[in-house]
Every structure is written in C-alpha cells, then in structure tokens.
C-alpha cells in the first residue's frame, strides 16, 4: 500500500484540486488546512485505511509526508508481534 498516494488522493478529495498537485512537503497550514480541517482529514484517513491514529503520534506532524511516515510506522509496529 502506498500510504503517501492514499493521503494525496484523500487530501485532493477533501480540500479540492488534483491529487498530483498536492504538495506533500509543504506545511499543512499552507495547504489551506486549518486545525479542525486536519482533524477531519485524520478522521477520514482512519476510516479509509482502517486504522487508529493516536493524537499524540501526530502532534509534531507538519507535512503530509511526515503524516505518511507516522502512518507507516503505526502499521509496522502493529504488524510486529509483541
């Protein structure tokens, strides 16, 4: 699964525009996404990927690429037996 691609497509769907034009390295607030909009985005992403993204894991996330990294790490840690 390409997490970054899923995030780009969801961002285009939720905030308008074309997925290929979403700048995944730009600060999220520069994409016209306010804090509530970002929460709603995370909510949709959780639904789409069937995962739970803990609030504390995204506190320092500034860009969509960083968000994709967090999601991938969550998937990896979940997959590992404890």
């Amino acid at each position: 699964m390409d997490t970054l691609l899923s995030i780009k497509e969801l961002a285009a769907k939720q905030f308008g525009g074309d997925a290929s034009a979403v700048d995944v390295d730009a600060p999220v607030d520069q994409l016209g996404i306010d804090s509530l909009g970002f929460l709603e985005f995370l909510f949709e992403l959780e639904d789409e990927l069937g995962i739970s993204i803990p609030q504390e894991s995204v506190v320092n996330v500034k860009t969509l690429r960083e968000l994709a990294d967090v999601v991938d790490q969550l998937a990896t840690s979940k997959a590992q037996p404890t």
């Binding site: 769907k13 905030f15 509530l36 929460l39 639904d47």
Partner: protein, 290 residues
C-alpha cells in the same frame, strides 16, 4: 428592505416562490419511505436542492443542509440588493438569523453513527450542528462584520430575527443587516418526535398536497417543512445613497410572550405582540382598527 432570497419547497428563488404562492401551488408531498412512520401517511415540505450546484463536495460537506439553504438565500438577497459593502461599511453590516433546530441533520447523523453505526463522531459535528452555524457562515461568506445574533424562538425565529434587525438599524447599532432564517429538520428522528406529540398532519386521503389546512374543521395537524428566507435590510440613507431599489419598508415590530402552555399558542399573547408592533409604527389608529 432592498433585497430578498428564498429556498423553499415551492421554488428556490424569490420569483419562483412568489409565482407558486399566487398560483396556490403546494410544496407538500407524501414523505419518502425512509422518513415514514408506521402507517406511512406522513407528509412534509421538502426542498428540491442539489448542493453540487453551489459547492464542490469538499465544501458542502462542511455545511449542514440548513446552513446550505441559509447561504443560498442570503447570497440571493445580497445580490438582489446589489449590496457590496466597503471594508469600513462591512463593520456596521450585521447578520441576524433565526433557526429552531440549527444543524439538525449533522447532529442526528452523529447520533446515528455513535449509537448504531461505527461508533465514531466526526470532528466537525459541533461546527455543523450548532444553532449559530448559519449566521456565522453567512457572515464569513460575505465579510459582514457588524453585530451578529442567532435567534431561536421556535416557529417565530425568522420573524423575530427580522424584527430585531429592524430595531438594531433604527436604533443605530447597524447600518445594514442580512436578516432571515433557515431550517432543515425533516429528519427521521425529528419527525418521530413530532409524531409522538401527535402534532403531525396525516396525508389527505384525496390529495397529500392539501394536507395542511389550518382552521379547517377536518384539519389533522401541522406539516413540517424546510427552507430559508433572507432579507437585506438597511437604513433609508444607506439605500438611497447607493441608489438601491427599495422593495419594502418595515415600520414597526413587537414581541410578547404568552406565558402559557409551552406547546399551546395563546391568542392574548399574539394580540399583545401585534398591538406593540402597531404602537411602535407610525400607522394611525384608523389603520390599526382595520
């Protein structure tokens, strides 16, 4: 009053609405199966409305149906009035808006998901569902930064907002106010609540469109509907100075509580409200006795 806008079961512009009224066209229909109560004879006035005609999906999803109606009606009123305030004028241009239930669809959907769906509540539920959402979104959409008030007085919410806007303008608190109201409460849960109170009309056996018949001996109840209406109100000086077409003038407003039953209107309160409106107006006693 220099502009008006309407979203209704009988037309989504003021002209269509007026045409339907003078031709006595009813907007009441038998409700679809997914909104029916057992027995299947509930009726309602639903608006034929396509959000996609007004916003891309990512924007309409951030607005409750009631707020969507409000924004369309308000936009029509402002356009109809040709009102485009300068930065300075926008500071004395306000929004007075009425609604009984506000974002009822957003709230009901959140409960549905919580109790019977995936158990999750959307982060935007509060800003979609809150009673003042429409007033706030109108203010944002048109940069109206004067006084803003949300009125909730059941069936009189919009009338109260218009009256209070009139007073605000007359008394110098604003030079212009976008006033009106919106409602979109024909939801399954709300219909059941009204039906439980045995207040809803049942479909007329011959013609469901004729189910609403106040004062008739064979009436069976009220009919819930949805929609929005907006009026652009401004001082006469403001309207004249920008050469706006004056559609109507408000000359008086009164407000009185029945202080009786919570669900039973009392004629004495209505009389006092009307008398107080007439007393506040320049109409003569001869006009008042008619």
């Amino acid at each position: 009053m220099t502009g008006l806008g309407v979203v209704s079961p009988v037309g989504n512009t003021a002209d269509e609405f007026f045409d339907a009224l003078i031709h006595a066209r009813s907007g009441i229909r038998r409700l679809p199966a997914d909104l029916q109560a057992p027995g299947g004879d509930l009726v309602g006035g639903l608006v034929d409305f396509d959000p996609a005609a007004h916003w891309p999906p990512h924007q309409s999803s951030q607005l409750d149906r009631a707020t969507q109606f409000a924004l369309v009606a308000a936009g029509q009123a402002i356009e109809n009035a040709g009102f485009s305030p300068s930065e300075a004028e926008s500071l004395s241009a306000g929004v007075y808006w009425g609604t009984g239930l506000g974002g009822a669809n957003a709230i009901e959907e959140s409960y549905r998901q919580l109790y019977a769906g995936n158990g999750r509540v959307r982060p935007t539920t509060v800003v979609l569902g809150m009673n003042n959402a429409a007033a706030g979104q109108i203010s944002i959409a048109h940069g109206l930064r004067g006084p803003i008030i949300n009125v909730s007085t059941a069936c009189s919410s919009s009338a109260t907002s218009v009256g209070e806007a009139f007073r605000a303008i007359r008394d110098g608190y604003a030079d212009a106010v976008l006033a009106g109201g919106s409602e979109a409460l024909v939801t399954l849960g709300n219909l059941r609540a009204w039906d439980a109170m045995q207040a809803l009309s049942h479909a007329d056996a011959h013609d469901p469109a004729r189910s609403c018949k106040p004062f008739s001996a064979n009436r069976t109840g009220i009919v819930l509907g949805e929609g929005a209406a907006a009026l652009m109100l401004e001082t006469e000086e403001s309207a004249r100075s920008r050469g706006a077409r004056v559609v109507a003038e408000i000359v008086g407003y009164g407000n009185a509580a029945d202080a009786k039953g919570i669900s039973k209107p009392d004629a004495a309160g209505q009389v006092r409200a009307m008398r107080s409106a007439l007393t506040a107006s320049p109409l003569s006693s001869r006009d008042q006795s008619r």
